[in-house]
Point group: C2
Chain length 329, copies 2
Amino acid sequence: MKKFINDPDDVVREALAGMAAAHPELRVDLDEQIIVRADAPRPGKVGLVSGGGSGHEPLHGGFVGLGMLDAACPGEIFTSPVPDQILAATRAVDGGAGVLHIVKNYTGDVMNFEMAAEDAETPIESVLVDDDVAVDGSTWTAGRRGTGATLLVEKIAGALAEQGAALAEVAAVARDVNERSASFAIALTAGTTPAAGKPGFDLPEDEIEVGVGIHGEPGRAREQLRPARDLAARIVEPILTAKPLAPGSEVIMLVNGLGGTPLLELYLMFKEVSRLLADAGVQVARSLVGNYVTSLDMAGISLTVCRADERLLRLWDAPVRTPGLRWGA
Amino acid sequence: MKKFINDPDDVVREALAGMAAAHPELRVDLDEQIIVRADAPRPGKVGLVSGGGSGHEPLHGGFVGLGMLDAACPGEIFTSPVPDQILAATRAVDGGAGVLHIVKNYTGDVMNFEMAAEDAETPIESVLVDDDVAVDGSTWTAGRRGTGATLLVEKIAGALAEQGAALAEVAAVARDVNERSASFAIALTAGTTPAAGKPGFDLPEDEIEVGVGIHGEPGRAREQLRPARDLAARIVEPILTAKPLAPGSEVIMLVNGLGGTPLLELYLMFKEVSRLLADAGVQVARSLVGNYVTSLDMAGISLTVCRADERLLRLWDAPVRTPGLRWGA
């Protein structure tokens, strides 16, 4: 294993110290292991908290700031945050208007966020993100997994909360975004956790994992490597099957690298995927290309497509200022 | 080789088509192979053109936009852009106030930018970026190589040009930033070009390439892999030796991934590097962490440190709106 680390047990804590040094505009609490907006809690504003295992950076800590999350609680690598962490984050952002928990659908995350919600002193709404249409259950979850759409949920719900909307409204738009979203991923290689020291799975030189999860958990099938245009079709097809889009639909699209894929390849795939969507009469109204929801150093790509409307596009366009996503501010 | 590509010969052209689809706010000319700001040429504004081999994304195409480059000309992978490309970019951004060429110090880039400058119909100033203090010459260059400081030069000179400064002034600040900057890189693995189909060099499981270039060209030494804190010292030492910083100095710092390094490790290294600079009495006034000047899928890291002053910090903070760098707009 070749990594820029000291002790494998200290990676998350030390990276968090790096975040604190790199982003003085955020409050990083190294004892509670939470990342909080500097101006939290803001009186009267709904607080947004998300979190999950580390290894998916910039998700979630990189999305804390104006117009997105109020706090993030990173667990150990590929490990759910503990209830105390989530509770500390919830308290830190409670401005009296309640707190929204954005929870990716993994068994441990769901359980620990529920425990924290029970102990919270403020009204909590919880939104489950389960956009990955590859499998209906895996070793990590019951039901669909939460992946790329989490970024969209955090961005759009964050924008609405910034405008002063009430907890129920913010939760509703978050659920709406999740409902409208579908994701699918392909891996060329597995990621390596510092603790394991070797790739999460072995993949021969000519094979790919289709429908892979962001912890390297298996997908639908192991298939032959083939040209990008064929891989793009392999990704788009299950998305359009799971959540059909009428011709003329507008979408927000995320072409996401899983950590080890060069931007050059992501752009090439963007071209292939855009073409397929255009063939289906779907218009890409907004898009992002880059490594946003990652799986350590996994070479792979995921596509997230969210059916948009005018309101969602306005919220998407609203100012955001976080380490990982920034515009208009 | 596992990559999201079709034909290895078409990667750059197809990725450029992806950039065109992803960034309708830019003008991507697929025939000339140039990326241009939508509002270029702007009358009376100095035009900024940079370019170089592809494989270093988001550099340079991802830095085209308000407050940074007016155009970029990407060559084939690790191959200089041709003079005709550079000339087309120069013409596209010539608003009558002259054009600045920002050239990384590689033999082919220098030669081809010179040829384009000779044929240009507008005054040209050329600024050579040679910040890599690892080696004084390599297989790719005579003198120091141009690496991470290119981002700083493009950002700061771009901000000054946006304010309406004259060509000589913009060139002067670009040269000043280069003079004040030093970079040094370590690779854990080599990148794989689509044409070669295998890593650029072999590195045993317990060895690293110290002082590596962004094409995988060798550095100072091949050494043993060791903990992040020791690698940070190995990077900081030559930088402070080459361009000493008095205690109390303020710097702009770029902790840059070479493509295959997870953000978690970059943040961890940020902590280590910040600590070493603090020990030397150096204050990090501004910083960036992420994959900005890459070498395809190379696992590695580079550090760039630029001695700042009030003026440079103001220009750094000025609004920028590009695919790869954005704030204040």
